[in-house]
């Protein structure tokens, strides 16, 4: 049943959606750009928003794969691998952090390729389960390969972002969180633009067609597996970069932390709550839910405040499967999971 009308529809949908997107995007952008001034450079608030932005990049990267209808529970594997790759390259090989972060992205892409080879034949629920199991492999290897990774105790004293000298400008990431904040903001904006571009490109259209009806998509000449693999590689690359940024931002990592289920859950939760099939929904969800958690729930319930993430996920699955942003747009009748993704193995 697939024909050009589906492609046209989604193109049409995108252009209609653009207006609302632009207004909210501009408001959010203004708020984020002025935030350091608005909060009088309050370190704590800026730190929370830096993390929120980093988690937003995770959600955006997750959604590159998510738009094809696949649910990955294994992105912690990429996050952890990116964090470890960059940390070890900078700590033991002595490379500059500006070099190790992209390198970490490429190493993670390699891991994504392995995961892709294993998981790409699977669909729906079985894909999700396979990705969930996949995390264990890099985690246990990192835990045990003491010679390379320094084992399960983790790495401390990682180098932060080195200072930048642009002419007379001198940006010091050590002394002020504001500089780190703007760095992560720039990264997330670049990623947002890229994801928007990908969604509108042929790749994005192909992924949406695969999501709607994989057999039909193949019938019109879309090589579903290649496109899904490509989306997984892109998703892995940016998740790895985010992981690397996390390592240099927090400057302490250990296997249990960076390969924890937390970093698999977070991007999925933000993407589903914000709207899996939208560009900015996942990022907005990150910027709302994470500060909510940190400013309100964390002080109230120090142990166990993360139940919030589970609660919003349950709420979203049961009552708002298109996500709050997807619901506000309401121009395409798309449920959380379409029929094709149920087709099993």
């Amino acid at each position: 049943m697939i024909n050009s009308s589906l492609i046209k529809n989604s193109r049409y949908g995108l252009s209609k959606r653009l207006k609302l997107d632009k207004v909210v995007l501009l408001m959010a952008l203004f708020f984020l750009l002025l935030l350091p001034v608005l909060v009088w450079h309050n370190d704590y608030i800026l730190q929370v928003f830096t993390h929120a932005l980093l988690l937003a990049t995770l959600a955006l990267a997750w959604n590159i794969l998510g738009v094809s209808g696949s649910i990955s529970l294994g992105h912690a594997a990429f996050f952890g691998a990116g964090a470890y790759a960059s940390a070890l390259l900078s700590l033991d090989a002595g490379l500059s952090v500006w070099l190790t972060i992209p390198l970490a992205g490429f190493i993670t892409t390699g891991l994504g390729f392995i995961m892709g080879l294993i998981c790409m034949r699977l669909r729906g629920a079985y894909f999700a389960l396979a990705t969930l199991a996949f995390i264990e492999i890099p985690r246990v290897v990192t835990d045990n390969w003491d010679g390379l990774t320094h084992g399960s105790l983790g790495l401390v004293g990682l180098p932060g972002f080195p200072s930048l000298h642009l002419g007379s400008w001198h940006i010091d990431f050590y002394s002020s969180i504001t500089a780190s904040y703007y760095l992560i903001l720039i990264y997330s904006l670049v990623l947002l633009g890229l994801v928007g571009f990908i969604f509108r490109s042929n790749l994005g259209l192909a992924l949406q067609a695969i999501r709607e009806e994989e057999v039909a998509a193949e019938a019109v000449g879309i090589r579903a597996n290649s496109f899904r693999l490509l989306s997984m590689l892109l998703s892995a690359f940016f998740t790895g970069i985010s992981g690397a940024c996390y390592a240099h931002l927090v400057r302490y990592i250990n296997p249990g932390l960076v390969y924890g289920l937390h970093f698999s859950a977070i991007p999925m939760i933000f993407a589903i709550c914000g709207g899996r099939f939208t560009v900015i929904g996942p990022a907005l969800a990150a910027l709302i839910i994470y500060p909510l958690d940190q400013f309100i729930f964390h002080p109230l319930i120090p142990a166990g405040h993360e139940f919030l993430y589970g609660a919003v996920l349950i709420f979203a699955v049961l009552f708002m499967p298109a996500g709050f942003w997807g619901r506000m747009q309401r121009n395409t009748e798309v449920g959380l999971f379409t029929k094709s993704s149920s087709s099993g193995i």
Binding site: I71, L73, I118, C119, R121, L122, G124, A125, Y126, A128, L129, A130, L132, A133, F134, I135, E136, I137, R139, V140, V141, D143, N144, S152, G260, L261, A265, M268, I269, I272, I301, A303, G304, H305, E306, F307, Y309, G310, A311, V312, L313, I314, V317, L318, P321, G335, L336, F337, K339, S341, S342, G344, I345
Partner: protein, 284 residues
């Protein structure tokens, strides 16, 4: 040494079967993947630990309370799952993932993140016979697991109720046509699952440290065994449990204890790649 490894593998494997049975039953009857399975099991373990440590109840009496608590939680959970729309399998994964996070954090809130163990000293002694060694703990685990599995087998294969459950596992629509109330079967599956988890949880607390995030490991075990056995095939589960238990025991001996956690994951990925319908299963 070989016999010791074999014995510990079989004893562990039988217990893994017990762990996986609840998961497999719920999945078979309702097509819901319950990713919160491990968290529920750890919750049962915590309930038992609390009763045993704080209320100083004898360990045997913790089982009924754990089962009761689990029944309540699972019935509540079933209400949530019942609201899901198609495709059930994928939606239930996402929903139960959320539930797992909520339960994990509730446990962190109620019991803190400290490592707990139900330490029963007599279980650490054992039988020694010509280099063969088996602790009473392993023996208890083996016997209790086998008894519970046998009882479940009786229910499933020797009663009318079991017949109805098996019919629902095989084909929901056909079962409904034959006059079986599929919704009631779903509730029953959750109840039976809760009883199984309530029995396995306190035992788990005896052999493994309890902490809120350990449930993920248990869930992975249950998924691996269920898929190994083939969807909805209770008969293959015990074989799958033993193979996993033996694989883990041999890994611990030859590669070291820290590689153990990878065994289930590697097995699951291999299975999904080569035999997605289970070792014993055929294409459904």
């Amino acid at each position: 040494m070989w016999t010791t490894v074999l014995v510990s593998g079989i004893s562990l494997g039988s217990f893994y079967t017990l762990i996986a049975l609840g998961f497999a039953l719920i999945f078979g009857v309702t097509r819901n993947f319950n990713l919160a399975h491990g968290e529920l099991l750890v919750l049962a373990g915590y309930v038992a630990y609390w009763l045993w440590k704080v209320c100083a109840l004898p360990f045997v009496f913790t089982f009924p309370v754990a089962i009761l608590v689990l029944l309540l939680v699972c019935l509540g959970l079933q209400r949530l799952f019942a609201r899901l729309s198609e495709p059930l399998e994928l939606n239930s994964i996402v929903l139960s993932f959320g539930v797992a996070i909520v339960i994990q954090n509730s446990m962190l809130f109620l019991f803190s993140g400290n490592y707990r163990l139900i330490r029963i000293p007599s279980l650490n002694q054992g039988i020694r016979f010509h280099g063969f060694y088996m602790s009473y703990g392993q023996l208890t685990l083996l016997i209790l697991s086998l008894i519970i599995i046998f009882l479940l087998y009786i229910i499933m294969y020797r009663t009318y109720l079991g017949k109805a459950l098996r019919a629902t596992i095989q084909d929901k629509e056909a079962a409904a046509l034959a006059g079986i109330n599929v919704a009631v079967m779903g509730t029953l599956a959750f109840c039976l699952g809760a009883v199984l988890i309530g029995l396995a949880g306190p035992l788990y607390g005896c052999i493994h440290y309890l902490y809120p995030s350990t449930g993920r490991e248990v869930t992975l075990l249950a998924i691996t065994i269920t898929i190994f056995a083939g969807v909805g095939r209770l008969s293959g589960i015990i074989l799958a449990g033993w193979i996993l238990g033996l694989a883990e025991s041999f890994t611990v001996i030859f590669c070291g204890a820290s590689w153990r956690e990878m065994v289930a994951a590697v097995l699951l990925l291999t299975l999904l790649t080569f035999r997605p319908h289970g070792i014993l299963g055929d294409k459904l």
